[in-house]
Structures are given as structure tokens and as C-alpha cells.
Amino acid sequence: MISMKNKGEKNKHIGLKDKSALNQEPSVSKDTGRKTILSIVYIFVGLFVLMMGYFTFFLLAKSDDVINSTYNLRHDVLAKRIIRGNIMSSDGEILAETITDEDGNEIRSYPYGDMYAHVVGRVMRGRAGIEEMENITLLTSYSNSAEAMYNDLVGVKNPGNNVISTLDHKLSKVAYDALGENRGAVVAIDPRTGKILAMISKPSYDPNNIDQNWESISEDSDNESPLLNRASQGLYPPGSTFKLVTALAYMRANPDYLDYNYKCKGTTDYEGMTISCSNNKVHGNLDLKEAFSKSCNTSFSTIGKELAIDDFRQLSESLFFNKPLPARISNNPSSFLLKTGESGVKESMQTAIGQGRTLISPLHNAMLAATVANGGIMMKPYVIDRIESAGGRLLKGYIPEEVARLMTAEEADYLKSLMRSVVTDGTASRLNKLDVKVAGKTGTAEQEGKKPHSWFIGYAPANNPRIAISIIVENKGSGSEYALPIAEKMFNAYFN
């Protein structure tokens, strides 16, 4: 390291004289001494080189993620030097930007008001959403250009990097409008990649004036929880959408599931508990596909009675119940509480039709529909597509990540045929008139003393899915009545 440069010069100046001087030292111990000392030098130089390599590696590769932590107080220091970057939709709409007024005051502006409040988030009154996840990115300026260095020198603020989200503004707007004044949430995912195309939660709040309205928003006297992102953090009983999981559990337990046969008499009783089909309808003789498409409660609760609780629980947990979702967006874990020794037959029957104590988030339900649509492979949902410099230069692209294969291709194919039959011959036949072939499952989650939650999960096109959605409308009525029309509008918008 040191020697290279002056090798030539050295030979010139020292020459023979010094070499002979060295030779005059005969002692053997001196030679071993030299050797041991040199090996010590190697060890230490090695240690130092490794340490410097690690330091360089940290600064090059790891520091971006590390300093993004909310615990890093230096974010505020950076904010003084950089104009926070924009957050964009995938179709080029600005979802968040920083505007500097004549007096030089910076204002964070959200052109679509409360529409993206949860997913894009806020910077006032605590950070949330993408604003939090990519805080450092937005406060970092692509600095390799001479201009950035010059701006730094003359004290002009550099523009921060822009975050391009996966959100589809057109689709989001349709979902937002279709949800209307209702409470609830909509999630749309591209099942092939995991890109989150839309994520709406209502009621919402306007991040533009959160500071002024903070008292009323945080007090939440109406118990509406506008700050809660219902799409990923709201937990609801899944209702009949859970029959997807029950059907898979039945298929795993009974390889001859194609021979399933059940005669629905409209109700079934077990030790004083009565489970009835919706509107007390008598469905008659059913195979599994018919039972699913008609959403026959008596069939499925009977299946639940026979399933081994351990297997049922194991399957649910393999589908990410009882654990955090594999997603960067903050989420609450769905829960599946059936347990051997604790749960009786009654609870098993209720759980099988999505009542009982099972809870699921709309995001999770969308991921399950997307997993079926994607042939059994769950993709990690993500909301940030790429990071660009203010000048539009690509700095970092997020690539789709596989979470795991959660069901075999055969299982997924059969579940797809079940979901397709719901549209062709079942409770979602309303969607059959669309140009695009849709598959899905409706759900009505009964609520004690209140109107039920209305669910729909589904995907389209049925043979080559490009979008999977999950919709919940709180305390409004049945799935086919309230969630389906929203799905209809979204599919229409996405495929036209």
C-alpha cells in the first residue's frame, strides 16, 4: 500500500549500503522477530481494511434505510435545507407537494384533500403514511449534480426527491366517490405484482388543515375514528368472504371435494343454535361450487362442524391470520381464534361462515383474493413504485416481491372457479353484465343490534387477473346491496 509509489526512488537512494547493513544482523531470533511483527502488521492492516470496508458499505448501502427511522431527530435538520419532494400517483397526479408562498413560508399541500389522507399521510401532528415511510427520501436531494452543490453553497434550498406511488388516481377517485358518505374502506391490488392501486378509508380528514382541526379530529366525539386507516388497520368480521378460507380448508381435508354433496333445508340446528341461509332460503341439493356461489350458510357451517380445528387454524395462520401482514404499510393483524380445547362446535360452525370471533382487515382480504387470482402466490403489497429526483431521474425502483406460495396451482384454480361461479350463477350476478369477466365473493357480516357490514372481494379479468379488490361498507346492509355497486364502478373504470 505504501511501498508502490516510491519503489523506484527507494532503490536509487538506499542501494547496496543498507542491504548489507541488514545482512550484518545474524541473529536468528531477530529474523523470527521480524516475521512475527510482520504477521502482526498484516493482522492489523486487515482489521482496519475490513472496518473501513464496513464503514463504506454502511454509508453506501445501509444508511438510507437506517436514517429513515422516525427516531432520527435529524429529519428536522434536513427539512431546513431541502424543499420536501412531491408524492405522485402512478398516473402523474400530484398527491402531495410543498408550496412556497411570497413570504418564503412553506406549506405542505394535498390537492385531493381527504381522499388520500391515510395512504399518503401527513407531516403535521405526527407523520403518517407515505410521508412517514419515505420521509428521508423526500428530504434528500439527488446531490450528484453540480447544481445541487452550488445551491448548497449559496444557501438556496434544493428540491427533495419525488416519490412516485403505485396509486391509480382515476381508480381511487371512482372508489372514493362510490363509497360516498358511508364509513368503510376500499383496497385494490394488482395481484401479479402486489402494487396497491387504490386505498380509501372513510371517514377521513383533510390533511391540509389538520393543524386547525386537530382538536376535533383527535377527540373523535362521534366515535368515527377519522385518523384510523380502516383499509389496513380496521378489523371486521369477514362474513361470507371467509368461505374462501373454509372452502380451502375443506379441500385440504377432503381430496374428494369434487364429490361434495349437501342438501340445504334453509336452516341447521346444533344444541339450540340455529344457523340459517340468508332470507331463510332453501337451496336444496348442492355441490361445493353451488354451495359457494349461493353462499349457503348451512352447508358451510356443517363443513365447519367437521373440520379439525388444528388444521383449520394452521391454514388460517399460513394465510397470515394472527400475525402482521407482510407489508410496509402499517397494519393490524387479523385474528382467527378457534383453538383446540377452547372452542366448541358452535364456534367452529360460526367461524366457518365468517361470523364467530374471526376478524380481518380489508387489505388482508384483498391480499387473499389477489393470492387466488395470482395462482396461489401471494405478492408483497407495496405502495411506492419508485423514487425520482426533482429532475425526473430514476433513483430507486421498487420491484415486486413474492411472499410465498400459499396454495397449490390446482387449489387456486378450483377456488377461482368457485369465485367465478359467484358472478355467473350466484350472489354477485349483478357483475355478470360487465364487459370484463369478474370473479368474487360477497359477504354480509351480521352485527349485533346494528345493520350488517357489506363485503365484496374479487378480481378481474377472471382468466388473466390484473386487479383484485376488497370493499367493506360499514353497517349498511348486505354485500350484494352495497359493496357490489362499488365494485361494479371500479371494474368499469379500470377496464375502460
Binding site: 500500500m1 505504501i2 511501498s3 509509489k5 516510491n6 519503489k7 526512488e9 527507494k10 537512494h13 538506499i14 543498507d18 544482523e25 531470533s29 531477530k30 523470527t32 522477530g33 521480524r34 516475521k35 512475527t36 511483527i37 510482520l38 502482526i40 502488521v41 498484516y42 492489523f44 492492516v45 482489521l47 482496519f48 475490513l50 472496518m51 473501513m52 464496513y54 464503514f55 463504506t56 454502511f58 454509508l59 445501509k62 444508511s63 438510507d64 437506517v66 436514517i67 427511522s69 427516531y71 432520527n72 431527530l73 435529524r74 435538520v77 434536513l78 448548497d152 453553497l153 449559496v154 444557501g155
Partner: protein, 449 residues
């Protein structure tokens, strides 16, 4: 204002880079005149760097006290360069300048972190440098210093035991001693010097099996005493220094290997036995999981280094004070945050340069006592730098070790100055040791191997 801070930031990086480059160039120079020229350039960069640092702070604080401190330091630097050259004409100019460069980095960073601590550091290091003027004479005139090996060892051990009995606790380690109720010292720092002297004396006499056993027992006692002070980094430094000195004195690979194996076993036992060791390892492996408590310090350190990036935030532009004990164990993070990662890399290289220079003395001297002495000091210095920096960048678990010449801490600064002065004494006193050669030839040896 902002523009000045930005410009000086890059200027300081350039000067540090240039200084480091010249330090390595000087290591390889043979020619007297060329070497003189390189030294002159190093001196210029040293003073320019020091000036730019205080200038950047002055324009932000506008405090006269800063000017006073700066002036004092300049006078000190001039006196050191002048006096040492006059009294010891054949001293190593490279080592002296490196020492002053490291000191000036320390002065600037400490002034930025805490003015009072910087003043204290300046006074103590100034006194130490003055007293240090006598050290080379001692080393070269009194050959009897090599006769008291056991005494050094026993006195050192006694000090450590004394600390265990009446010491005061600080940062979780019981290694401070209050002297006459006036000030506290950390005897471990001085025992380090005695320890190396002791080993060098005893092994330069003979290295038969009996001697090895006896000395190892004494070294083990010393290491254990430091372990009992809960000073893990200190214990590691003693241990590693001993193992390498033993290896070098005997030339037996077996000793090195069994020593390192024994050290690994001992570390594992310490991990199982002591909670404070477990906590450190835990915080190292996953600082962000324990960010609220055990991992707080290392997380803050990584935030500082990461946010500073390659070029740093500039003096007073970062938040180094959010890192606990930033002025001593974690000072490297503060440097990296405000001076930048490139500057920090130069600093590591500069320390490596000092290490190589000291080891080179060991390689060149024909006196076996001096050879072991300088080897021990070189290893001790190099390993302490490695532990300190490696710990704060999360390369290894943090062991709470100061960065020589830079961290605040009176005992540690005095000890390391004395250590360098002993090396200077060896270089100056050993007539067989041609200075230019000492400066130059380590490169050859690495090359020849």
C-alpha cells in the same frame, strides 16, 4: 453564513485528505530533502486545518473565548514543533505531526461539543506535552528502566486493586479514582503503559517456559482486575496487547493461537455470565429493536453517521449531542456527522499511519527491549482505535473505549501522549536506528514477504 460553512466544510476535508496523503508519502520517503519538504507541507496543512475549523466556529458563535483558545493551541503547536526539534534533532517528525493533527481534530470537535471540556482537554494535553519533553531523555539515558519488570507489573496491579476498593463509578464502570478529593483519574490508562513496560522488560530478558508461565499469570491477574471494574474494552486491550507481545517475543504460533482461542472462550463465558456484556451484544446485533434503551446510543450514532453522509453536515449543523457520551467513546460519530464519512475514513487512515510507524520502529530497532516496547505500544494504540471506531459504527459490539488523542478524558490523553513520547525516545536514542530508515522501510518488508 451558510455558504461559508459549506466552503469550509469542503476545505477541511481537502486539508485532511492532503495531510493524510502526505503522512503516507512521508512514510515512504528516503531522501532527506524530500522528507523535509513533505514535513513542511504537513505542517502547513495542520495549521490551515486547525485555523479553518476554529474560523468556522467563530463566525457562528462570535465568541472571544474561542479566539483565546485557538491562540493558545497555536502557541502550543509551535512550541511543541520547535522544542522537540531543538532538543531531539533526530526525533520522528512524522509521529509528532500526526499527534498534533489528531489533537487538533480533537480540539475542534470538543470545542463544538462542549467548550469547557475543550479547555480542559487543551490544558491537560498542553501540560502532558510539556512533561513529555523529558520522556525521551529518560528512555535513552536510563537503561536501568528495563530492570524493574516485576515492579511495573506489581505496581500496576496494585493500582487496579486500589481502584476496585475505593474507586468511583462512572458510565457503569468502576475505574475512576478520586485524588485528594480534587480530581478524578482513570488509573487503567496509566497501568496500560506500566503493563507494556513490564512485559517488554521481562520478555526481553528471557522467554523460557517458566518465565512465560509467570508473566502470563501476572498478565491474567491484570486483565481480571480490569474485568472486575466492568471495563470490557480496557480488558480486551490488555489481553490483546499481551497475546501479541508474547507471540512476538517467543515467535511461537502456538501461543498466539491458544491465546486467541482462550480469549474467545473467555468472551463467551463473559457473555453468559455478565448481563452488561449481554446487553452490549444485544444492542450491537439489533440496535433498532432496543432503540428506546440498550440500543439507543448505537442507533443515535448510526443516525449521525448516516445523516452526515460522505461530506458531512458542517460544523454546528448536525445534532451530535443526541448521542450519549459523544465527547468520549462516541466522538467518531460526531466527527463523521459534521465532517463527513470521507473525512472519517481519512482519520482511520491517519491512525493506521501512526500504527504502522510505531510498528516500524519495532521492526528496525536492534534492542530487544525497545522492540517489544514499541510493538506493545503499537498494538495497544492500533487495537484501541479499532475497538473505539468499530464499536460506534456497529462493526463490532461497542466496548466503551476512547479514541486516542481525540476523545475527551484527561487520563487517556496524558497516557497516549506519554506512549508516543516513549516511542520518540526509542527513535531518538537508538543510534543503530537510522530515522529515515525507520520512517521508510516497513513498506519494503511488507513487499518482500
Amino acid at each position: 453564513m451558510r455558504i461559508v460553512i459549506e466552503i469550509t466544510k469542503y476545505l477541511m476535508l481537502i486539508m485532511m485528505g492532503a495531510y493524510t496523503y502526505h503522512a503516507f508519502k512521508a512514510s515512504a520517503k528516503k531522501n532527506d530533502n524530500a522528507l523535509k519538504k513533505t514535513f513542511r507541507q504537513m505542517t502547513i496543512f495542520l495549521f490551515l486545518f486547525h485555523f479553518t475549523g476554529y474560523f468556522t466556529m467563530y463566525i457562528q458563535l462570535q465568541s472571544e473565548k474561542l479566539l483565546l483558545l485557538y491562540g493558545g493551541q497555536v502557541v502550543l503547536f509551535i512550541l511543541v514543533l520547535g522544542f522537540y526539534k531543538i532538543i531531539y534533532p533526530t526525533i520522528s517528525g512524522l509521529l509528532i505531526r500526526n499527534m498534533l493533527m489528531l489533537l487538533s481534530i480533537g480540539y475542534i470537535v470538543l470545542t463544538r461539543l462542549s467548550f469547557d471540556k475543550a479547555v480542559r482537554q487543551f490544558i491537560i494535553s498542553g501540560v502532558a506535552l510539556g512533561l513529555g519533553l523529558l520522556v525521551p531523555i529518560f528512555v535513552q539515558r536510563f537503561s536501568s528502566i528495563r530492570k524493574y519488570g516485576w515492579i511495573y507489573g506489581i505496581v500496576g496491579l496494585a493500582f487496579l486493586v486500589l481502584v476496585l476498593l475505593v474507586g468511583t463509578e462512572n458510565y457503569g464502570a468502576t475505574s475512576w479514582l478520586t485524588v485528594f478529593g480534587l480530581f478524578t483519574i482513570q488509573p487503567t490508562e496509566f497501568v496500560k503503559l506500566l503493563f507494556v513496560f513490564c512485559i517488554a522488560c521481562l520478555y526481553s530478558e528471557k522467554t523460557d517456559f517458566k518465565r512465560v508461565c509467570a508473566v502470563t499469570a501476572m498478565a491474567a491477574g491484570t486483565v481480571l482486575a480490569v474485568v472486575f471494574q466492568r471495563d470490557l474494552g480496557g480488558a480486551l486491550i490488555f489481553f490483546v496487547t499481551y497475546i501479541f507481545m508474547l507471540y512476538s517475543a517467543t515467535g511461537k504460533h502456538l501461543y498466539l493461537l491458544s491465546g486467541l482461542a482462550g480469549g474467545s472462550v473467555a468472551s463467551w463465558v463473559a457473555y453468559k455470565l455478565f448481563d452488561h456484556v449481554k446487553v452490549r451484544v444485544m444492542a450491537w446485533r439489533n440496535p433498532f429493536v432496543y432503540i428506546d434503551k440498550e440500543g439507543y446510543q448505537i442507533s443515535q450514532s448510526l443516525f449521525a453517521i448516516g445523516t452526515g453522509g460522505w461530506f458531512g453536515m458542517g460544523l454546528y449543523q448536525g445534532l451530535p449531542t443526541t448521542i450519549p457520551v459523544v465527547d468520549s467513546d462516541f466522538i467518531f460519530s460526531a466527527i463523521s456527522e459534521e465532517f463527513g464519512g470521507l473525512f472519517a475514513l481519512c482519520l482511520i487512515l491517519l491512525c493506521l499511519n501512526c500504527f504502522l510507524h510505531i510498528i516500524n520502529v519495532s521492526l528496525k530497532t536492534r534492542d530487544s527491549f525497545f522492540r517489544l516496547l514499541s510493538l506493545g505500544f503499537g498494538v495497544m494504540f492500533g487495537f484501541q482505535v479499532f475497538l473505539s471506531i468499530g464499536g460506534v459504527i456497529k462493526f463490532i459490539p461497542s466496548t466503551g473505549v476512547t479514541l486516542p488523542f481525540i476523545s475527551s478524558g484527561g487520563s487517556s490523553i496524558v497516557a497516549v501522549i506519554m506512549m508516543f513520547m516513549v516511542i520518540e525516545g526509542i527513535i531518538n536514542g537508538d543510534n543503530s536506528l537510522n530515522i529515515r530508515k525507520a520512517d521508510a522501510n516497513i513498506a519494503d518488508d511488507i513487499h518482500e514477504e
